[in-house]
Assembly symmetry: C2
C-alpha cells in the first residue's frame, strides 16, 4: 500500500447514499425488513425473553404470556436488529424506531445480572448450565452481537445506554476467561465476540478490548483443547462431540497455523475477519500471513462465483477443494455477509483491491439474493440452480440471516469508502456523498453514476481549502480498458494493487471521471470443479447472471449457449425494478423421437437466451433457475 497508515471505514454519519441500484434495496430494508424483524422478535418472544431473568431472579414462575421457550441464540437476533435499526436512524431519523430501540435496551439493562452477565437463556431457563459449554451454547456469540449492537448504536445515535451495558458485560467476561490464576482458558465455539471486541476497541480506544480479542484469538486451537477440558468438567465424553471434529469451529490448530478454510462457513468468516482486524491493529505479520493464506485457499478452491461459500448443509460449511455443487449449494446468506466483513478488513489490512473485488462480488450477488426485492422474504441457502421449489421464506426457525443482511445494508456506507488522514479509497461505485477530514481539510466527495448498469462514474469535490491527498479508485479485475479523467484531462490508468491512484493538490470543484467498460462476460470455472464442467456463467460488471425458466421456452438444462454467440446487454426498466438483462442466441435440445434412449443425438432449435442478475432471482413466480449454463463449443 501507498502509506503505512490504515484506511478505516468512515462513520455511518459520514456517508449518504443516493444510488439508483442500492437506494431501493436500502429503503426496502428500512421500510419492510426492519419492521418484519421487530414483529417476528415480538411474536416469538425474543424481546420478552429479556424480562424473564427478572422473574427468575425473584424466584417467580415465568408467566404464561411468555409462551415461548427462549432459544440460545435469541439475544443475538435482537442485537442484530438493534444494530440494523440504529444504523438506519442515521440516514432516516425515526422517533418511533428510536423508542423501540430504547425500550429494548431498557429491557437489557433490567436483565443484566449484578455481576454484569447478560444472557436471557442461561439466566431464565438453564442457570445451572451458565458458562459450562462454550463449544455449543453460543454464550460468547450472543455477547459478541450485543457488543456490535452497542458500538453501532453508540456511533449512530451518540447514546451510551447499550455501550454501558456491554462494557459491564465485557468486564465480567474478561474476569472469567483468560490464562490468569482462577480464569478459564476458554473461547467461543461460534466466533463473533473477537471481531466485536475489536470494533469496541476501535470505537472506544480502550486497549483492554484489543487485549481481550487477542486473547480469544491466540487461545483458539491450543492444546489441550479447551472444549475437551470443558466437556470433561461437565462429565461429558469429548469424543461424543456431535460435529465430530474441531475443524467445524476452526479450533483444530492455533489460528496462525491454519491454512485451509474449514468447517462452518459463518464461523470461519467471523474468525478470519477478527484475525485480519487484529493483524492490522497489532501490525502482526504472522497473523497477516495466515489471513492471506486462508484467503487464497478460499478464493482459489472454494468460493462460488456468486461470492457464496460452504457447499454443504450437513456442517453448514466447507467440504473439499473444488467441490461446488450448484443445486444443493448451501451458500448461507450469513456466510456471504461474513465474507464481506472479512474482505473489507483484508482490503484495509493490505491495501489490495482484490479483496474489495471479492467483497463486491459477495455484496452484489449472494448477499442480495438473501432478501427479496420487497424486503420481506429471505433465503438462508443460496443455490446456483433450482428446480423452482427453492423459495424465499417469511421466517425461519434459525433467523440469523435476515438481520445479518439488514445490518449490512444499513451500514453499506462503510463498504463504499475507506479513509485515512491522507487518503480516500473508493471501494464501491455507488451514488453517494462522503464527508471526511482528509489532508487536513474538510472534504465532501460526491459520487454519481448508474453503476452497475453503466460504467461511467463521476466524482466531484468540495473542499474548504486546497489540500494534497491521494484518491484511490478500485479498478475491478474484470474491467479491461478503464479510463480516467481528472478535471477533464486524461490520466493513464495503471492500477497499483488494483487501484488507480491519484495524488495531487485537490481543490473545490475538482472532478474525476472514471469509465469502467461494462460488457457481458463469459466466465469459466477451473476444470477441477466437477459440477461446472462444460458450463459457462455470464457476468456483467460485478453482477453474476442466471436464467429463470419464466424467460425461456424450454427446460433450462436443454438450453445451451454457443461459445461464439454474441451477447447483448439491454436495460429493461420494467423488469424487477429495472435491471440490465443479457440476451444472446442459444440453442435448445429437441427430441428427435419419443424414445428415452436413441442412437441419434438430440436435434437443436434456436432460442433466445435471456439472463437476469442472480441478485434478483426468485422475485417472480416460482420457476427453475440456473447460473451455470451448458456451453456449446464449435
Amino acid at each position: 500500500m501507498t502509506t503505512t497508515e490504515l484506511s478505516l471505514p468512515p462513520a455511518l454519519t459520514q456517508v449518504q447514499l443516493h444510488d439508483a441500484f442500492w437506494s431501493p434495496r436500502l429503503e426496502a430494508n428500512r421500510a419492510h425488513t426492519l419492521p418484519t424483524l421487530h414483529r417476528k422478535l415480538v411474536e416469538v418472544g425474543a424481546l420478552d425473553a429479556f424480562d424473564l431473568p427478572a422473574y427468575a431472579e425473584r424466584g417467580l414462575t415465568i408467566p404464561k404470556t411468555h409462551h415461548v421457550t427462549p432459544q440460545m441464540w435469541w439475544d443475538s437476533d435482537v442485537a442484530k436488529w438493534i444494530e440494523a435499526a440504529s444504523a438506519s436512524l442515521v440516514t432516516h431519523p425515526d422517533a418511533a424506531l428510536d423508542a423501540q430501540i430504547d425500550d429494548t435496551i431498557a429491557r437489557m439493562v433490567r436483565a443484566q445480572q449484578q455481576d454484569g452477565y447478560l444472557n436471557t437463556y442461561f439466566t431464565a431457563i438453564e442457570p445451572e448450565r451458565k458458562l459450562t459449554n462454550e463449544r455449543d451454547w453460543h454464550e460468547l456469540y450472543n455477547a459478541g452481537h450485543l457488543i456490535e449492537a452497542a458500538v453501532t448504536h453508540h456511533r449512530s445515535t451518540g447514546k451510551t445506554s447499550l455501550l454501558d451495558v456491554v462494557e459491564r458485560y465485557v468486564r465480567f467476561l474478561s474476569g472469567v476467561y483468560g490464562t490468569g490464576e482462577g480464569q478459564r482458558p476458554g473461547y467461543p465455539g461460534h466466533e463473533e465476540i473477537e471481531l466485536a471486541l475489536l470494533r469496541l476497541y476501535h470505537a472506544t480506544g480502550r486497549r483492554e478490548h484489543l487485549d481481550f480479542a487477542r486473547y480469544f484469538l491466540n487461545q483458539r486451537g491450543q492444546t489441550p483443547n479447551y472444549f475437551e477440558t470443558e466437556a470433561l468438567a461437565r462429565g461429558d465424553d469429548p469424543q461424543e462431540f456431535w460435529a465430530g471434529t474441531y475443524e467445524y469451529m476452526q479450533a483444530h490448530v492455533p489460528v496462525r497455523e491454519q491454512s485451509q478454510v474449514v468447517g462452518h462457513a459463518v464461523r470461519a468468516m467471523y474468525l478470519y475477519a477478527a484475525m485480519a482486524d487484529l493483524a492490522a491493529a497489532d501490525g502482526d505479520p504472522q497473523l497477516r500471513t495466515a489471513c492471506e493464506r486462508l484467503w487464497n485457499d478460499l478464493t482459489r478452491h472454494s468460493l462460488y462465483v456468486t461470492g457464496g461459500l460452504g457447499p454443504s448443509a450437513s456442517n453448514e460449511g466447507m467440504t473439499r477443494p473444488y467441490d461446488l455443487p450448484n443445486d444443493t449449494a448451501y451458500a448461507e446468506t450469513c456466510a456471504a455477509v461474513g465474507l464481506a466483513f472479512w474482505a473489507r478488513r483484508m482490503a484495509a489490512l493490505t491495501g489490495e483491491g482484490r479483496y474489495a473485488d471479492v467483497m463486491e462480488r459477495a455484496l452484489y450477488n449472494n448477499v442480495l439474493s438473501g432478501v427479496s426485492l420487497g424486503g420481506d422474504h429471505f433465503l438462508y441457502e443460496n443455490p446456483l440452480e433450482s428446480d423452482g421449489t427453492h423459495r424465499r421464506w417469511a421466517w425461519h426457525a434459525c433467523p440469523c440471516c435476515p438481520p445479518n443482511v439488514a445490518r449490512l445494508l444499513a451500514s453499506l456506507g462503510e463498504y463504499v469508502y475507506a479513509v485515512s488522514a491522507r487518503e480516500v479509497t473508493v471501494n464501491l461505485y455507488a451514488g453517494s456523498t462522503l464527508q471526511a477530514e482528509v489532508g487536513g481539510r474538510a472534504l465532501t466527495l460526491t459520487q454519481e453514476g448508474m453503476y452497475p448498469w453503466r460504467g461511467d462514474i463521476h466524482l466531484s469535490m468540495t473542499l474548504d481549502a486546497p489540500a494534497t491527498f491521494t484518491v484511490r479508485l478500485r479498478i475491478p479485475a474484470w474491467a479491461q480498458g478503464a479510463t480516467l479523467n481528472v478535471n477533464g484531462e486524461a490520466v493513464a490508468v495503471t492500477p497499483q494493487q488494483g487501484y488507480a491512484v491519484v495524488t495531487r493538490e485537490w481543490s473545490a470543484g475538482d472532478t474525476i471521471d472514471l469509465m469502467l467498460p461494462l460488457v457481458p462476460r463469459r466466465t469459466y470455472a477451473h476444470p477441477a470443479v466437477r459440477q461446472d464442467a462444460g458450463l459457462v456463467a455470464l457476468e456483467y460488471g460485478p453482477l453474476v447472471y442466471c436464467v429463470e425458466g419464466l424467460d425461456q421456452r424450454a427446460d433450462l438444462h436443454a438450453l445451451s449457449l454457443p461459445r461464439d454467440s454474441a451477447l447483448d446487454a439491454r436495460f429493461d426498466p420494467d423488469l424487477l425494478g429495472g435491471v440490465t438483462v443479457i440476451e444472446g442466441a442459444a440453442v435448445i435440445d429437441t427430441a428427435a423421437t419419443a424414445d428415452l434412449y436413441s442412437g441419434s443425438p438430440p436435434t437443436t432449435r434456436p432460442a433466445l437466451l435471456r439472463a437476469i442478475p442472480y441478485a434478483v432471482w426468485d422475485n417472480r413466480e416460482p420457476t427453475p433457475m440456473r447460473v451455470w449454463l451448458r456451453e456449446r463449443v464449435g
Copy 2:
C-alpha cells in the same frame, strides 16, 4: 405372435450353459456366492430361526445360543438361498449342498404350525401380531419366497419335501384371505406371493393357485383400502402410514387401472411380473393392456440405460418421469432382477422381442453389477456415476439382493430360451444346449459363439427325426444389418416383432448362423432427462460401458468425447477376466491458470478414452466411474 400358444421357459434340467461370458459368472455364483450366502444365514441366525417356533410352542424361553432376534424378512432370504442352491444342483450335483438344503427344509417342516402357518418371526417373536399388518410386515412376501423356493427345489431335484410344506401353507392362507364369509379381503404390502402362486400353478397345474393369485391381484387397490381397514383393526391411525401414500406399494388404484410405474421399484416389478403371467394364463386382455401401458411408461420415462430403475433412496423407488440422477441413482439390484422377471413374462405374453431386449439390458448390466466377478461382494445400489467411494460390500443389513442375483444366475437357462409345442425362441445368445420336445420330436439345439464380444452365433440341431417347427431368433433393436444363414444359405432377415422367424422342416445336422454386427454405439438420452443433458453413453451389443478413473489420466468430469471421434472395440483377454474395451480419441479440459474462475475457457489436450463394461465396474482398486460422458460437438 405367430401362434396363440404361449412359449414358456424350459425347465432348468433342459438347458446346459457352456458360455465364455456367462459360465465364469455362474461358476463364481456356485462356488463363492452360494457358500457366502449360507455362511451369512448361519452367522446371523436366520437358519436357527426356524428352530425357534418349536421352543416358543412349548412355552420355552428362546435359548441364548439363538443370539439374534430374527428379522421379519429372514425367511425370504433363506428361501432365496434354497432356490439358488437347488437350481445350481441341476448343472452341478453336490451332495453336501443337497444335504444343506434338506436340513434347512427339515427345519421348516418342524417350524410349520399345525394349521399350516409358517413364519419364524410371527411364531417365535411376536405371535400376537401374526396376520395383523400385511401392509408393512412382509408375511405374505416371505410366504411367496417359500413358494418360489419349493417350485424350484421340486423342479430341480424332483423332491416334494418343500412343496408339501408350502402347499399346506397356501391352504392355510387361502382360508384366511379372500372375499368369502369370514375371510379377510387382504393382500400383501410387498408383492411377491402373486408371481409365486402363478409359478406354483404352472408347476402343479392346480387351478386353486391360479385362483388365489388372481384374487390377490384383483383385490389390490380396491376401495375401501384393506390396509386402512387393517390399521383401524389394530387401533392404528391409517393416516400415520410412514410411506405416506399407497402408490408406494402400488395399492392406490386397482391394478387394471394403473398406468404409471410408481413407488417401491422391487414391489412394482414383482407385481407387474405377476400381472403379465396372469394375463397370459387367463387370456385377460384388460390386464395385458395394463401391463403394456406400465411397460411403456417405464421404458419411455424412467429406465436407466443400464436396465436399472428407481432413482430414489427415500422410497427405494420411482420419482418423476425423466428423473434419472446418475451419482445418486438407487437402481437397486433387486429391481433389475425384478425387471428381468417381468420382461421375460411380457415376452411370453406378447411374443415381442422388445421385451427381451430390455431383459437382456437388465441382465447384462444392472443385474451383473450387483455382484463382483469373484462372487463374494455385492451392490445394493447401482449408480451410474461414482466418486470412487461406492463399493461392493461383503454383507448388508437387508441382504435381499445377493440371493436374488444368485437365484437368477442359477436359473439363467430359463431366460435364454422359450419353448412351445411348435416353436423354439432364442431370447439370449449364450453358448448352451437346449433339450426340448418341439414339433413332436426330441430336439437338441446347440448354440455356440463369443457373444457379447462377437456377433457370430452358430446353432446346430440334432433331431430324432425331421420335424416342422418354428425357430425364432431375437434381433436386438440395436443390431443393424443382421444376417442369417440356414444350412449355409442366406435367409433374409425381416424381423417380425423383433425376431427373425424361420419355419421349415428341420433335420438333424441343420445349422443356423446368425450374425449380429457389433460396433461401439453412441447412445443419447431424451432431452427431458436433465441429468444426461450434453452427455453420451457408449454401448456395445447388450453392454453399457463406463469409464473408470484407473484407465484415465484425468478427472472423469474433465474428459469429453468429440462427437466425430472414431471408436474402436478391442478384446483384452487380461483385463477383468477378459472383456472388450472401447477406445477412442477424447480431450481433457486443462486449466489455463490456477484461478478458480477465468474469462478464458479451459484449454484441451488429447487423451485416449478407454471404457469397460458397466457389468464389471468396481472390480479393481477404488476409483471414480461414469457411464454418461461429456460430449463435445463440432
